[in-house]
């Protein structure tokens, strides 16, 4: 994970929680307990958090402080979770959000 800042010239080592594993769609991803879900995704190189309902446009982190709602995803089955301010836990199930669902638009259209 080279996107992690291991040693910072001013801040030194960033304090991290204990390592945890969670799933992003069907993939297993590592992160640190207590950090925002969005930080763990970013560190793993995942940029797209959701697709908008009408135009199916991708969205990712924008404000990182819980204000813009661009980063919402389906977390443990619940949609619209702001991943930039939601702490990561072991075993969390994080899914891309299509509109307001974890089902892809295709699947939503077919109604299955």
């Amino acid at each position: 994970m080279e996107t992690r800042i291991e040693n910072h010239p001013i801040l030194g080592d960033t304090k991290k929680g204990k390592p945890v594993t969670f799933t992003y769609n069907d993939m297993e991803v590592q992160g640190y307990e207590g950090e925002p879900i969005a930080a763990a995704l970013k560190a793993a190189g995942i940029m797209v958090h959701r697709y908008t309902k009408k135009e199916h446009k991708p969205r990712g982190i924008f404000c990182a402080i819980g204000r813009c709602t661009d980063c919402v995803m389906v977390v443990d089955g619940k949609p619209n979770i702001r991943t930039c301010v939601t702490p990561l836990k072991q075993g969390m199930k994080v899914q891309t959000q299509y509109g307001v669902s974890a089902d892809t638009f295709d699947k939503q259209q077919r109604g299955v």
Binding site: I5, P9, K16, E35, F62, A64, I65, R67
Partner: protein, 525 residues
């Protein structure tokens, strides 16, 4: 409903400062903040602050934040986190959302210290993942320890864009370009110069044509604009970047005040919709006060003083102190605040083109357009001399409220005088011992130690260096000029890191003597 003497909304520098002053005077104070941790913007700021000793100059923002939190705890201030205030009524009742619960509190007085929100600009592709706010970049890198991107374009040349740009370099990102639609750099020249000498190119009078990419940003095109903001055909430039960072200004978050019925005004000099208030934060509703960025975009240093003023004014409003004491306390804070509001970047000078410094020296045109003082401009400033032996060279050429360099020198080599916005000058009558304290204390990283007689044919240059990896003694590389271009071969001859330098390392290189006035940065081979 719970009742408090004073309810404060926002635990940033202004809210915390207000809380401390009020609690010290015996008031029962509660502070609400929507975040998981207190401190507002301070914990994202890792650079040394400007100002004077009384403004905590040369202390890094996050350290000031820790000091404020300690003081708040000592004085018994109660801070409630993850608590978003969603309503404020004329009778000083607030509605606050804590998790899923909605609670009501009543205050005998209220201070709104909600700070500011980031502005954004739109362009084709602006909603793509990879386009982020400068605040988001700071939060990711300085709070969560994750790089916001690898190759970045920064839009905005105000202090936020410049400071966040430098922080991005410090955490190992590359900045492809710093772009601003304005014809001149908006932030402090010393902040711009720190970026320029590492090789970051500045594009003024340019803006983004479009961000490219399907799922996320893969590139960006910028172009020059004319005075009516139209793109000039043929001036397009393309950069392969994965991140576009926007630092295009802040707007006061004053909605709660409007909701309560405070008289508001649209004031571009204060950053937008702001409450009408006096200099101590009293709004049109008695007992409702404001402090910090919400009452006009400024800085953490002024936000802290405004917070203290509002806290003291609230104490007087409720009779915890009398008018005499109020006036006595406010007088000294007035002085501290007016010290910060002077110089070229003072609120009343916003948007004005200043051609000469207070000393009557023509300002550097290159600094405003390219981010660095040109070689043929630097000689005219009083910080730049060719004294024999080791001596300080201060490349600080704008009147800004800052003077830690003067305080740092044990010998008195650096003179600013009583007026803290005066340009630092070298006093040739005392000799420098080369201790490096000035270099490390300079908030703008604008001081170098130069010895033109270091060795036959060679000069030594000592520079502030806040990057990793730290080059080792003996390493050879290239010296870069103020413009970030290679000027000559260089060798590292000393690296000094002392606790007193507070993480600013001092890197000394040796260069052929004819480059002594040009070499200002080092890149290892």
């Amino acid at each position: 409903m719970k009742r408090y003497d004073l309810i404060i909304v926002g635990a940033g520098p202004s809210g915390l400062s207000a809380a401390i002053e009020a609690a010290k005077r015996g008031m029962n104070v509660i502070v609400f903040d929507e975040n998981e941790r207190p401190g507002g913007q301070l914990f994202k700021q890792i650079h040394k602050f400007f100002g004077s000793k009384e403004h905590k100059a040369k202390v890094r923002g996050f350290v000031i934040g820790k000091q404020l939190l300690d003081e708040a705890a000592e004085t018994g201030v109660k801070v409630i986190l993850n608590a978003t205030v969603i309503g404020l009524y004329q009778d000083k009742e607030i509605v606050v959302k804590i998790g899923e619960a909605v609670e009501h509190y009543k205050g005998n007085s209220i201070i709104i210290a909600t700070g500011a929100a980031e502005n954004m600009v739109t362009f084709p592709g602006w909603t793509l993942p990879g386009v982020i706010g400068a605040g988001a970049a700071q939060t990711m890198m300085n709070i969560h320890g994750v790089k916001p991107g690898s190759k970045i374009l920064m839009l905005g040349s105000g202090n936020v864009g410049l400071v966040v740009g430098f922080q991005l370099l410090q955490c190992g990102c590359e900045i492809a370009a710093l772009v601003d639609a304005a014809p001149r750099i908006g932030g402090y020249g010393v902040h711009a110069a720190k970026l320029a000498r590492t090789g970051v190119p500045f594009y003024l009078s340019h803006t983004i044509v479009e961000a490219e990419g399907d799922a996320c940003v893969t590139g960006v095109t910028i172009a020059e604009i004319d005075s009516s903001f139209n793109f000039i055909p043929g001036t397009e430039k393309h950069f392969d970047v994965d991140t576009i960072c926007m630092a295009v200004g802040l707007s006061p978050m004053s909605q709660l005040l409007k909701m309560a019925g405070c008289k508001m005004e649209d004031n571009p000099k204060r950053g937008g919709q702001v409450p009408i208030c006096d200099e101590y934060g009293r709004t049109s509703i008695p007992g409702i006060f404001v402090a910090g960025d919400v009452s006009g975009i400024e800085e953490a240093s002024s936000a802290m003083i405004e917070g203290r003023m509002a806290g003291i004014a609230a104490a007087e409003y409720l009779g915890y102190i009398d008018e005499n004491e109020l006036n006595k306390e406010l007088a000294s804070l007035d002085k501290a605040l007016s010290g910060l509001r002077q110089g070229m970047f003072a609120p009343e000078n916003r948007g004005r083109l200043i051609e000469k410094t207070d000393e009557g020296i023509a300002v550097s045109d290159s600094l405003l357009k390219k981010g660095y003082v040109a070689d043929d401009e630097i000689e005219r400033f009083p910080g730049f001399t060719h004294t024999k032996g080791i001596h300080p060279v201060m490349e600080c050429t704008q009147n800004i409220p800052c003077n830690p360099c003067q305080d740092a020198c044990p010998k008195g080599c650096i003179k600013i005088g009583k007026d803290i916005t005066a340009l630092p000058a070298v006093d040739d009558s005392v000799s420098c011992i080369g201790c490096g304290m000035c270099v490390a204390s300079c908030s703008g990283q604008a001081i170098f130690l130069v010895d033109e007689t270091y060795e036959e044919g060679y000069a030594s240059i000592t520079m502030p260096y806040e990057f990793f990896p730290l080059p080792e003694i003996g390493i050879k590389g290239k010296a870069l000029g103020r413009d970030g271009q290679i000027v000559c071969e260089a060798e590292v001859i000393n690296v000094k890191s002392l606790p007193a330098f507070d993480k600013t390392n001092l890197l000394t290189i040796k260069v052929p003597v004819e480059y002594a006035s040009k070499a200002r940065f080092f890149k290892a081979e």
